[in-house]
């Protein structure tokens, strides 16, 4: 064993990139090139330096964007600037798929090989890139790597291209062919893919609510948003006051759309009434559940609605700072949101908000760096704070001790989008939509073997079969529908009458999750699909708790043996055992849901035709 601090110094480009985020260093002690007379006798550290820990991930992004990796010299420099031990910062850098620490990756195409893109061109795309660039992850120049779901499922196959430099180039491309990816890697112009599609909008449906403005409003224009009724909700909320806004939310009985279906009003009230400020509002836009792309659609096509809803949340719970955590694979959504935030701030709708007495609220965008687990709210806190994105033990719950240990409201993009109508028309009117226990409308992400994939909006109460019919029906003969994403479960063709409500799903033993509805026809290789799901969870497990870290590996191995012709009885019983341990003992939802899809596939007899 030989532990030593590494002496590598940053390059000029690395310094510039980091300084652009963190500001110029004040002294040599702070990483500057020259010593100042004062620094021998005065320095600032301790609490003020530790408070800058939150700038770690943005600084690492800056290095990745500028030079294509987190070199030792670059890492050393960031650590000196932020007073972080290099080993700790290395632990953070290696946590994320999109940060390279071993060698420069100046131009990388991340190619989705996940369940929706599989069998829909992903293999062909990968082969084309392999021909041109060599095997995945190799070579000093441009390279490609397989990737989990990129959230472009409706337009498979998909790739996310990152080219380092000044400025960096980041593009999500779908559907895309190898030629276009290769062009993008060389910064040649490629047709930027269209934003996520909403077939109902394109068909001129009249009764849409969350999708009301999609396709009609100009996402780059505050003026256009206002013309379509934008910011009426914030003005009205300011007039109502925090207490009444929360009361409306409570009477709306809105449930969170991120997967856990927690009553939103209860959350808002808990944060508003929490004793110790400052309070924070976080919009969870780390949409990473395989098969999910609804939040991307809202962000790309109606971004001001997200910003307005967050501002209402800030007003209602008494928060002055909001964070919008967007997954790193969504560059277009990030860019569009950044534009919306800038315009809102310039118009006095963020920052010092000059409405009804005035209040302060601002939003900072945080970019994820490729980690499914960061969609878990407490992992997301750690990620923003500059730590590895590992979930925390609950309690304490975020409403009491969340981001920076303070009361924090975390809502998913879709959940927040519902707030606008609730404020404008009142909670009880909203509650008249949908069913008694599932109020309002829900966005469903249709992809897979379906005729017209895209995001669909329905009032709660619609059945699985009706949703599939609305999307033009299944291509081929239906074998099973994956509901809820990789963390959800397969449903057989005999149960298309399941109502897609929270209570209906619960009664059927499934979960709506993030609203994924992915039908597979009888030509599907389910062994391959479930192995990809098992691989996904093994790869995305943060490794913090044993049941998930070990269980996800053992599950994948058992599934490998089962689908390879091993003893069905032994392997299925082992998978059930592992599933129970992961469900009972994992810290967070990742481990708790990592077996659902596989167990349901086994139960439906989708693997090797063996019913359990």
């Amino acid at each position: 064993m030989d532990l030593h601090l590494l002496a590598e110094a940053p390059t000029d480009a690395e310094r510039l990139a980091v300084d652009a985020v963190l500001g110029e260093p004040e002294s040599a002690r702070d990483g500057g090139r020259h010593r100042t007379a004062a620094e021998a006798h005065i320095a600032y550290g301790g609490a003020s330096a530790r408070a800058r820990r939150r700038e770690l991930l943005p600084a690492l992004h800056a290095l990745q964007d500028a030079v294509g990796w987190i070199s030792r010299g670059g890492l050393n420099y960031v650590c000196r600037r932020l007073t972080i031990p290099p080993a700790e910062a290395y632990g953070v850098a290696t946590f994320y798929h999109l940060l390279a620490t071993d060698e420069p990756a100046a131009a990388v195409a991340y190619v989705c090989d996940d369940i929706a893109c599989r069998g829909r061109g992903a293999e062909h795309l990968a082969a084309g890139l392999e021909d041109a660039l060599g095997p995945a992850g190799t070579g000093p120049g441009a390279t490609w790597k397989p990737s989990p779901c990129l959230g472009r499922c409706e337009a498979a196959p998909a790739a996310y291209v990152h080219v380092a430099g000044d400025p960096p180039m980041r593009r999500s491309l779908a559907p895309v062919e190898a030629r276009a990816v290769l062009d993008a890697l060389e910064r040649l112009p490629v047709d930027v893919s269209p934003a996520a599609s909403a077939p109902q909008v394109e068909a001129g449906a009249a009764d849409l609510r969350l999708l009301r403005r999609v396709g009609r409003v100009d996402p780059a224009s505050l003026e256009s948003y206002r013309r379509h009724g934008g910011y009426a909700a914030l003005a009205w909320a300011a007039e109502l006051g925090p207490e009444q806004v929360i009361a409306e939310l409570e009477s709306s009985r809105l449930m969170g759309r991120g997967g856990a279906a927690f009553p939103t009003g209860v959350k808002w009230r808990a944060v508003a009434e929490a004793a110790d400020g400052p309070r924070y509002v976080i919009c969870n836009a780390d949409e990473s559940e395989p098969g999910t792309f609804k939040d991307r659609l809202l962000m790309e096509r109606d971004p001001f609605a997200v910003v307005e809803a967050m501002t209402i949340a800030g007003l209602a719970v008494g928060a002055e700072q909001g964070y919008l955590y967007v997954r790193g694979e969504y560059p277009q959504a990030e860019e569009i949101l950044a534009g919306a935030i800038d315009q809102a701030r310039a118009a006095g709708l963020l920052g010092e908000v000059a409405l009804d007495g005035g209040f302060e609220f601002d939003i900072e965008i945080r970019r994820g760096a490729g980690a499914y687990i960061c969609g878990e709210e407490t992992a997301l806190f750690n990620s923003i704070e500059g730590y590895r994105g590992e979930p925390r033990q609950k309690p304490p719950f975020p409403t009491e001790a969340g981001l920076f240990g303070r009361p924090t409201l975390v809502n998913n993009v879709e959940t927040l989008s519902n707030v606008l109508d609730i404020v404008l028309e009142g909670g009880s009117a909203y509650a008249g939509l949908g069913t008694e226990a599932s109020t309002g409308t829900k966005l469903f992400c249709l992809s897979g073997d379906v005729s017209t994939p895209g995001v669909y909006e329905f009032a709660f109460g619609v059945t699985l079969g009706e949703v599939l019919d609305a999307a033009g029906g299944v291509q081929g003969d239906l074998a099973a529908v994956l509901v809820g994403g990789a963390a959800g479960s397969f449903v057989g063709p005999d149960r298309l009458d399941v109502p897609l409500t929270f209570e209906g799903a619960r009664a059927a033993g499934i979960s709506l999750g993030s609203g994924v509805v992915m039908p597979f026809n009888t030509g599907t290789d389910f062994a391959d699909i479930t192995r990809r799901i098992a691989e996904f969870f093994r790869d995305e497990s943060c490794g913090q708790c044993v049941p998930c870290r070990v269980g996800a590996v053992r599950q994948e191995e058992a599934l490998e043996r089962l689908t390879g012709g091993g003893s069905a009885e032994a392997e299925i019983s082992l998978i059930d055992d592992i599933a129970r341990a992961m469900r009972d003992a994992s810290i967070c939802g990742l481990g708790q849901t990592a077996s659902g899809a596989i167990q349901s596939a086994i139960a439906l007899g989708l693997l090797n035709g063996r019913p359990s």
Binding site: L3, A38, A40, H41, I42, A43, G45
Partner: protein, 476 residues
């Protein structure tokens, strides 16, 4: 906020901070009036310690001192913690008094979260004091020159206790020099390598009529001894207690049988007593602890059972219902003057620079200390390897290295007014021009304490290890 003061200028800084707190009107007037004495004299005394004067002495920019004064005075709670950088000076006690003045000025004492905290360098330094291993104190910090106290111990022990107070370490070496001290029994110390001006220390140890050493290792001092008692390691091979920096007494349990002929300190001392004609029997650690509890009021409530139940208790703990004391001096905040007791005195202290002056001949200030993975003279840490340990070096600021024409790894001769050693140079970023650093972990390689000065504080007996004047000469 880090204030990099020049070595030995602590009092100038503290007095200037006190003056600045007064200038900004941030002192706690109520606390001062109710619980302290000597404030007016203090205020008058520190008046000449202006920010500019302090900047000249300490090197710290005046603005930074002003900011620190504000932050300290206005913090809801604040602690002044220190280690040997404050106490290994010829004016160690004055350094501490200067800090106490600040706590009294702001009321940052006697309250939860505030206070004055000497951080101990070992798990049981505090426990040594608790047990009376001080020349003027009996166990429980009871004054050996107090007749009532002494009477209590004498009655319990059935033996007389000599007065007046004994010698501390520095006085012992002076007594050896005079020939008044002829025999020394050393338990768990390595003065032949740890003392300042160690050449003199070794000469004096060598001239004793009798040197007895009791230690877990055959140290350099033990190798000089007439008699060596191999001892058991207190943290793993014996039963007992330790007291940590926050006065928390904790149980220590035996996990290992000591190797070879090594024995528990209690057994060695009891057998020695028996040979001298006093039968102490074979007391257990708990029996001795209960005897201490019967004699030391601050430990009285700490039975082994309670120590285990509470996972340690902080003294004073006066009886078996007492939950212990998370902080001291709370009396100063009592409403009733009778409960408040004697006011805490301000102690105006003068700034006096280190004894070993910087001159053209000896222009660089050497300060010594420890590194993370080594301990003192290496007796306890030299026996295991560490991936981070490197051999002894003279750590120099890059500017000094340039000026001296030496590079990383070059061997140099380090010369003080008392001696010289050779060591390789390490150019490091954490120092400043004119300040050099060495450890004392590897005395067998580089005998750093041949450089240090044995000028010591008359009130505490501690030598000025932290401030040596040196020059650096290239070798070869």
């Amino acid at each position: 906020m880090w204030l990099g003061i020049d070595v030995g200028s602590d009092i100038a800084l503290a007095n200037a901070v006190g003056r600045e707190i007064l200038a900004q009107g941030l002192e706690d007037r109520d606390f001062i009036d109710r619980a302290t004495s000597g404030f007016d004299a203090y205020a008058e005394w520190v008046d000449r310690f202006t920010l500019d004067y302090a900047e000249t002495i300490t090197g710290v920019p005046a603005d930074a001192i002003r900011q620190f004064a504000f932050e300290y005075a206005t913090a809801p709670t604040a602690q002044l913690c220190w280690t040997l950088g404050i106490t290994e000076h010829h004016n160690a006690t004055d350094n501490v008094l200067a800090l106490i003045n600040l706590a009294l000025l702001t009321g940052h004492v006697g309250r939860w979260g505030s206070g004055l905290v000497p951080i101990r360098g070992q798990n049981n330094v505090q426990g040594g004091g608790d047990m009376g291993a001080l020349p003027n104190k009996l166990p429980g910090f009871q004054d050996v020159e107090d007749d009532d106290v002494r009477g209590k111990f004498e009655a319990s022990w059935g033996a007389g206790i000599p007065t007046p107070a004994g010698w501390h370490l520095s006085l012992m070496f002076e007594a050896m020099e005079r020939g008044d001290l002829r025999a020394l029994y050393v338990i768990g110390e390595n003065p032949a390598q740890a003392e300042a001006d160690v050449t003199r220390a070794r000469r004096l140890l060598g001239e004793l009529d009798l040197l007895v050493v009791q230690d877990i290792f055959l140290t350099r001092t033990a190798r000089m001894a007439d008699i060596v008692f191999p001892a058991a390691a207190a943290w793993a091979e014996t039963e007992g207690t330790v007291t940590n920096s926050e006065r928390r007494v904790q149980r220590v349990r035996r996990a290992l049988i000591p190797p070879g002929e090594a024995r528990d300190d209690i057994a060695i001392l009891s057998d020695l007593a028996a040979r001298m004609g006093h039968n102490w029997g074979s007391p257990t650690a708990e029996e001795l602890w209960d005897e201490l509890r019967s004699l030391s009021p601050i430990h009285a409530g700490m039975s082994y059972r309670r120590l285990e139940e509470h996972r340690g208790l902080q003294w004073p703990c006066l009886d078996e219902q007492d939950p212990g004391s998370p902080f001291l001096h709370g009396r100063l905040w009592a409403d009733d003057p009778a409960d408040r007791g004697r006011p805490a005195p301000f102690s105006p202290v003068e700034y006096v620079p280190p004894v070993d002056e910087l001159t053209d001949e000896f222009p660089i200030r050497l300060t010594t200390g420890r590194r993370l993975d080594s301990y003192n003279t290496g007796v306890q840490s030299g026996g295991y390897t560490s991936p981070k340990r490197h051999r002894e070096s003279l750590d120099l600021d890059p500017d000094d290295a340039d000026r001296l024409g030496v590079a990383d790894g070059d061997r140099v001769r380090v010369v003080s007014r008392r001696g010289a050693v050779e060591a390789p140079v390490r150019v490091v970023g954490g120092l400043r021009p004119g300040l050099a650093f060495m450890t004392f972990h590897f005395p067998d390689q580089v005998d750093v304490n041949t450089l240090t000065i044995d000028a010591w504080d008359p009130k505490s007996g501690t030598a000025e290890f932290k401030a040596t004047a040196i020059r650096v000469e290239k070798v070869g």
